[in-house]
Each structure stands twice: as C-alpha cells, then as structure tokens.
C-alpha cells in the first residue's frame, strides 16, 4: 500500500460533515450558475443599450420601397445643412438587426418585416434645433421622423449595469459563504477524528500528510457536489421557456453558444476554493494539537 493510497484511506468516510460539504457545495454551485447567467446577460444588455445611447438620435424613415432611396437622399441633405449635426449615417440591415436583437431576440426573420430605414445622427455638443429640424423634415420628407427617444433607454442601460454589479456581488457572496461552510466542515471533520490524528502523529506522519488526507476528501466532496449543482443549474437555465418577444432579460437569461462553457468553471473553482479553505483550516487546527 503506497503513501498515495493510504492517504486516501486514513480519514474515515463518514460523518455529517461529508454531507454538509457536498450538499452546500451543490446548492452554492446551483446559485452560482444563475448569478453567472445574470451577470453575462445583463452585461450584454448594458452593452447594447449603451451603444444605442451613444447615437444620441435617429431619423426613422418610412416610405414605399421605390421612393426609399430618393427620400433617404433628401433627409441626408437636410441633415447635412442643419447646424448642430456632426454626421449622419444610414444603418445597414445588419446593424439594425443587432439593435433589435436586445429586444426581440436573435431569431426574428427581419427580412419579412417592413422595417423603416434608420439614419443615425451624431450631434455636436450643442445639438440641433430639434423643433426646427422636425418641421424641415416634415416639409421635405414626409415619411421621416426625427426621434431622440433613445434617451429613455438611459435608465434601462443603467439598470442593466446595476444588475450586473448585483450578479457579481452575488457571485462573491456565494464564494464567501462556500468558503465559510468549508472552514466549519473542515474544523468539524478534524475535531471528530482526534484518534486518527493521534495515531498518525504517533507513527511520525507530518502535518502535511495529515492535512492532505483531510483536504483531499473535503475538496473532492465539494467538487462533486458543485458538479451536480452546476449540472442542475444549467439544466434549469436551458429549460427556461424562451418567449418569442417581450422582456428579453427574462426569456433570454442564460448563455449563448460557447457561453455555455462558462459555468463549467464552477466545479473546479469550488474544488480549488474548498482545497484552499480546508488546507488553511487543517494546518491551523493541527498546529493546536500536540
């Protein structure tokens, strides 16, 4: 029997602490999956909405297809000659799709919708005379509407940013609570195995060996619990009903594509956390036992 094999065996596999560790690591991992998803989704929303905000205003142009180009040219000319407007840019369909995705989800058949054309305006710091511009547009290109309504998105973008902070704080709290539970469980495991420690001491085992024997068991349990918790969390996310439209934050909570790999870091992370927390505890306890 080698040292490696025996170190796996010297700590009896029993006691409530074992269950406490697996169960709490599982529960925490489950929660961590959601916090992570929330952080990813809200970050994405914040980015989309902030991007929209930077384009302080748009002109929405609705016109019959055959008149679209002519009307666009007129609008651009009006904008070019309006003081307070730095530049104007006609959005290509892809850009428009990206903007809409945050609201309607990625799977909408945009081609099938009679979408207005959007012209993005970058204003100078003073900005244009909005009322004057509206009147001019109404006179020269009746299908065009000057729209600086993107401003109402600002609180939304802020809320999304705030939500992301909450999610990150939650992740931190989950990690902290997990570490605290591991510390408690490790102390309990060491305290309830006084005889194991005494015997190992007697035969000349070093603290490092004794600590490792405990730590290995604790971190394996934590890793295993976290694996199950993560799997359940991911399953629950995948099973969230995907609403076609409506509030995207709810229906879209989760990961996209390779983003699904992200929660897979939770189990190894939980294991490392458990390892560090229990190792520190074990050394601390062993230093107090002669």
């Amino acid at each position: 029997m080698s040292a490696r094999e025996i170190s796996r065996l010297v700590v009896p596999r029993r006691g409530q602490s074992v269950w406490l560790i697996s169960l709490s690591a599982g529960a925490m991992a489950f929660l961590a999956v959601f916090a992570l998803a929330l952080s990813v989704t809200s970050a994405q929303l914040a980015r989309t909405w902030s991007a929209a905000l930077a384009q302080t205003a748009t002109v929405r142009l609705a016109a019959p297809p055959e008149e679209m180009e002519a009307q666009t040219a007129i609008v651009l000319e009006v904008l070019r000659t309006t003081p307070g407007i730095e530049s104007a840019h006609v959005m290509v369909p892809d850009e428009q799709a990206a903007l809409l995705e945050a609201w309607l989800g990625p799977d909408l058949p945009l081609d099938a919708l009679p979408l207005p054309r959007l012209i993005e305006i970058t204003e100078t710091s003073e900005g244009p005379d909005r009322q004057g511009l509206r009147l001019r547009l109404a006179a020269e290109a009746p299908g065009a509407v000057f729209d600086d309504h993107t401003r109402w998105r600002r609180p939304l973008a802020e809320a999304a940013g705030r939500l992301r902070s909450f999610a990150l704080v939650s992740l931190g709290l989950i990690g902290g609570v997990t570490a605290a539970i591991i510390v408690l469980a490790a102390s309990a495991a060491l305290a309830s195995n006084g005889q194991v420690i005494r015997v190992l001491r007697l035969v000349g085992a070093r603290d490092r060996f004794i600590a490792r024997a405990f730590v290995r068991q604790i971190s394996l349990r934590a890793g295993l619990g976290a694996l199950v918790g993560t799997a359940l969390g991911m399953g629950a996310l995948a099973a969230l009903p995907q609403a076609g439209g409506g509030v995207h934050l709810l229906s879209g909570l989760g990961f996209a594509g390779a983003g699904w790999l992200l929660p897979l870091v939770i189990p190894p992370l939980a294991m490392v956390l458990a390892w560090a927390a229990s190792l520190t505890t074990a050394f601390q306890v062993l230093r107090g036992v002669t």
Partner: protein, 223 residues
C-alpha cells in the same frame, strides 16, 4: 539516543518526578518499573515528545525537544516505535493496514511480505483483515507491537506491552524485542511483570530502572 538531564514533570498537581537524568544508548535494553501512578507512562511520553518536560532538558536523537519544529519531531518519531498502554488504531482500517501505517503514512515503501511475516510472528496472521475494534486486548497489544517495529526503529518504547497476554505469548513478544535489541535497537519497556524481566535478563544485559518517591533509580541486582 534519548538523554534526560535533570528532568522534572508536573501535570499541575505537584511534580511527578524530579531531577531525573538518564541515557538510553544505542543497543541498550531498559525496563522501567514502579508502582501504578508513579509516572512510567509519563516518562515514556517524554521519550517521544508527546509531553515536554516541565523543567530540565530532554534530547531525542541529539536534538532538544523544546526547540524541535513539528516536522522535525515527526521525523524523529519515524525512528521511534511506540506501544501505547491504550493501543490506538485507525479503527476503519484493517490490522494489516494499521501495522503498515508507519511506513505508508511517511512515504516509505511497504513490503507486503514484511508485514505478513511480522503478523505471523505476533500470532495475528489470521486476523490480518480484521478491524481493530474486533480484536481482544491481547491481540491489540500484539498488533501495536507489530506496528511499532515494522519500520525497524532506532528506539522501541513499550508501555506494558504484555499486560493482557498469557506467559507463552509474553515470552514470544519479549524474544522479538530481544532480537530487535541485538540488532542495535534501544529498547525501553515499562512493566510490572517481574517474571518477564527475569526472562529477559537471562538472555541479555538489561538494566532495570525504577520510579519511586519521585526519583528514578537503578534497581538492585536482585531482580
């Protein structure tokens, strides 16, 4: 290997013994006797660093126990085999695994044949796979002795190792300790058993130490 210089020990209720000086040299064989409660087990615990002296100096393998790091003490214990009066084991591991523990828990290779030979010697071959809680008192002592000597220690400390054994088995274990001593191991055995001491003295040159009235004395030749 183990040197006491003016050592006193006190658990808090007055000194158990005072100004004890002794040397356990390589290849020596000592018995330790004295009335119950005199401090024999305490003396042994001082010999492997489980207790520190209240006063005086104890050197283990030329190192002062008071200044030993925990790792250094562990290393010294790897060279000292101990049979406790209340033999403790890892109760969830087999006798065989327990006997091999001094090697396996310190990263030294374990030869299965050595373990089984030793178990054979102490009459536990049939109990190799048993769990310690199912052993009788005598079987526990034999397993503890096997564990104490599996790693061929420089020093063997045995606290009443034959307390629960019949005379045949006591002789057998004593012979094992004598063999070990002939190969250079310093042996210290705490015991009340005068018959056992006589048996050993008939074969080797053993000294008898006695703790009484708070002093350690060399007992007379009448034993």
């Amino acid at each position: 290997m183990i040197v006491f210089e003016d050592v006193s020990h006190d658990y808090g209720g007055g000194p158990l013994f005072r100004d004890v000086s002794a040397r356990l040299e390589k290849g020596s064989f000592h018995f330790l006797t004295g009335p119950s409660g005199a401090g024999k087990s305490t003396f042994l615990k001082l010999c492997y660093g489980e207790l520190l002296p209240s006063a005086g100096k104890i050197s283990l393998m030329n190192k002062d126990v008071n200044t030993l790091s925990r790792d250094a003490l562990a290393e010294i214990r790897q060279r000292i085999g101990v049979v406790h009066q209340d033999c403790q084991f890892l109760d969830h591991l087999s006798v065989e695994q327990n006997v091999a523990l001094p090697l396996s828990a310190t990263g030294r290779p374990v030869a299965e044949s050595d373990v089984s030979d030793l178990l054979e010697w102490v009459g536990l071959a049939k109990r190799a796979d048993a769990l310690p809680p199912t052993l009788s008192g005598g079987e526990r002592q034999r397993a503890a002795l096997a564990r104490a000597i599996i790693a061929a220690p420089n020093v063997l400390l045995a606290d009443e190792p034959t307390g629960n054994l019949d005379w045949d088995m006591s002789q057998r274990l004593m012979s094992l300790m004598i063999e070990l001593n002939k190969m250079g191991t310093a042996v210290l055995v705490a015991t009340h058993d005068l018959q056992l001491i006589r048996f050993a003295k008939s074969q080797i040159n053993a000294r008898v130490l006695r703790i009484s009235r708070r002093k350690l004395q060399v007992a007379g030749a009448d034993l």
